[in-house]
Amino acid sequence: MERLLRNRWALVVALALILAALPLVFPSNYYFRVAALVNIFALAAIGLNLLMGYAGQVSLGHAGFMGIGAYAVAIGASRFGLNGAVAMLAGAAMAGLLAFLVGRPILRLKGHYLAVATLGLGLLISMVLTNEAGWTGGPDGMAVPRLELFGTRLRGPDTWYMITAGALVLGVILALNLIESPTGRAMRAIHDSEIAARVVGVDVAAYKLKIFVISAVYASIAGSLMAFLNGHITPDGTAGFLRSVELVTMVVLGGLGSVLGAIVGAAMLVILPQALTIFHEYEHLLLGLIIMASMILLPRGVIPSLLARLRGGGA
């Protein structure tokens, strides 16, 4: 079992099979919608986990990059007449460029200081989206034109479930490839000892920047997909501070440094609030309790703690 979880191709195949099989048991469109949201947030969480769990750098502003991706497809299609797919790629490029420009100065900071600096970046993006009402519709948000590919309009949660599932599998493959590459070893090394990485020739600043850019692109693509799925976006719903906190929670809850953990964390934080609505006013209380209990019982995150148990070492 542990070997299976550690083999990257076993993980990819298992994930693809599960994602392909789920529609067979989904009774309604509502399930497709929630599952599509899980896929989207899992994608963003995987990107953030590369930064936090592997390279060891926190970002409390990552939803800002989701916002860029979301508004890129909305504005690109409605104001510039771009095809949605092209607008999505343009958004990813813009998010990457912004991360590149901002990353160099802020990634010099460490720990809490980096956290506050990235928080500021997220707030800034969210403010721009709220205030530039002429472009973005302001706090009420804007409609997202439907994506048209090869002459067909893509609509319906079932269609977007399949698309986001494909994007998630692709995102997992790219992340796993990266982790097992020279770049992956360099970023994992940086997490444990920057000084040791430097004396064997790893350019620490350059690698932090690369990973920051990659994680921003993951978030931007996720933001674009969310815009297409929902058909309407707001600054708070895409780039808001609470979204950023949600992304960090997914990564930590599921397991820092675990691709599968990011998916599990995203699934928990998307599904639980939906499932807990049956408890009406106790919904938030229960969600909080479950998150606390999960962190106490599985302190290294769901997946790493369970793996440690399987290995027989305790959590």
């Binding site: 790219l174 490839n177 990266l178 097992e180 590459s181 020279p182 770049t183 992956g184 070893r185 360099a186 994992r188 090394a189 997490h191 444990d192 000892s193 000084i195 040791a196 990485a197 430097r198 004396v199 064997v200 020739g201 790893v202 350019d203 620490v204 690369k210 990659i214 440094g257």
Partner: protein, 261 residues
């Protein structure tokens, strides 16, 4: 014998205290040059200056005739200087062989896009780095532990793992900061063997070590530091007999006794 590493009047002051004061020394390829001295003599600070972790207040460092003063450690590594640490700096969450593979980094040429796509050239490079890393692990006697998570290895094994990682960069000079500290006699023996083996391969070695028997046995040259200054420099036999060295060591010993009384 040509000089590989040379320091000229290297100094650094921290808020008025001169931790390393006008130290000049030279190491040739294949030579084992030890730095000894009482605690606080500035040995590790000197290492941090040479390896680019600290910027000197004055003085110069030359590597193979080229001035490298003030270059950051990653650039020094690319020019052939690597080091180990007194207090271990290990990538604990990676396996032993992966730790050493990070040392291969400066020889890896594939780009980040090919890494994301796991192109065939990346897979070939991964295999190549793994082979080099396994060879270095074998060189320090850790081949059996290659797949173990570094966090689970013994202290003595980690000391050698750091040496293997530094060797994977294919250095021309290796700085070893107390490689035998905390090691049992068997492990010290093993470190002794590794250092000799590395020097025989033509790599220059600068060594800081407290185990005097080890130092006297393996050094070609010894520099004694006291309060940041170079006290004596010479062959082990000459240094051992030097009255200034004896006084320095006895002096600290004496003052410790005085403190206790």
């Amino acid at each position: 014998m040509s000089t590989l590493l040379e320091t000229e009047n290297l100094s650094i002051a921290f808020g008025g205290i001169t931790a390393v004061d006008q130290v000049s020394l030279a190491v040739a390829p294949g030579q084992i040059h030890s730095i000894i001295g009482p605690n606080g003599a500035g040995k590790t600070t000197l290492f941090n200056l040479i390896s680019g972790l600290y910027q000197p207040s004055s003085g110069r460092v030359k590597l193979a005739g080229e001035e490298v003063t003030g270059l950051p450690p990653e650039q020094l590594a690319r020019r052939g200087l690597s080091r180990s640490f007194q207090n271990l700096q290990i990538f604990f969450r990676m396996s032993a062989v992966e730790n050493v593979m990070v040392g291969c980094h400066r020889h890896e040429r594939t780009g980040i896009l090919s890494h994301l796509l796991a192109l065939p050239n990346v897979r070939a490079e991964n295999r190549n780095s793994r082979e080099i890393a396994m060879a270095q692990l074998a060189r320090v006697g850790l081949a059996d532990l290659a797949e173990k998570e570094a966090g689970s290895l013994s202290y003595g094994a980690l000391k050698r793992l750091e040496i293997a990682r530094a060797l994977a960069t294919e250095p021309r000079i290796l700085l070893l900061d107390e490689p035998a500290a905390g090691c049992n006699p068997v492990e010290t023996e093993e470190i002794d063997r590794v250092i000799h083996d590395v020097a025989k391969a033509g790599i220059a070695i600068l060594l800081v070590e407290h185990d005097m028997r080890l130092v006297m046995r393996i050094s070609d040259e010894i520099t004694v530091l006291e309060r940041g200054r170079k006290l004596v420099s010479g062959k082990p036999e000459a240094v051992r007999e030097d009255p200034r060295v004896i006084a320095a060591y006895l002096g600290t010993f004496g003052s410790e006794e005085a403190n206790r009384a």
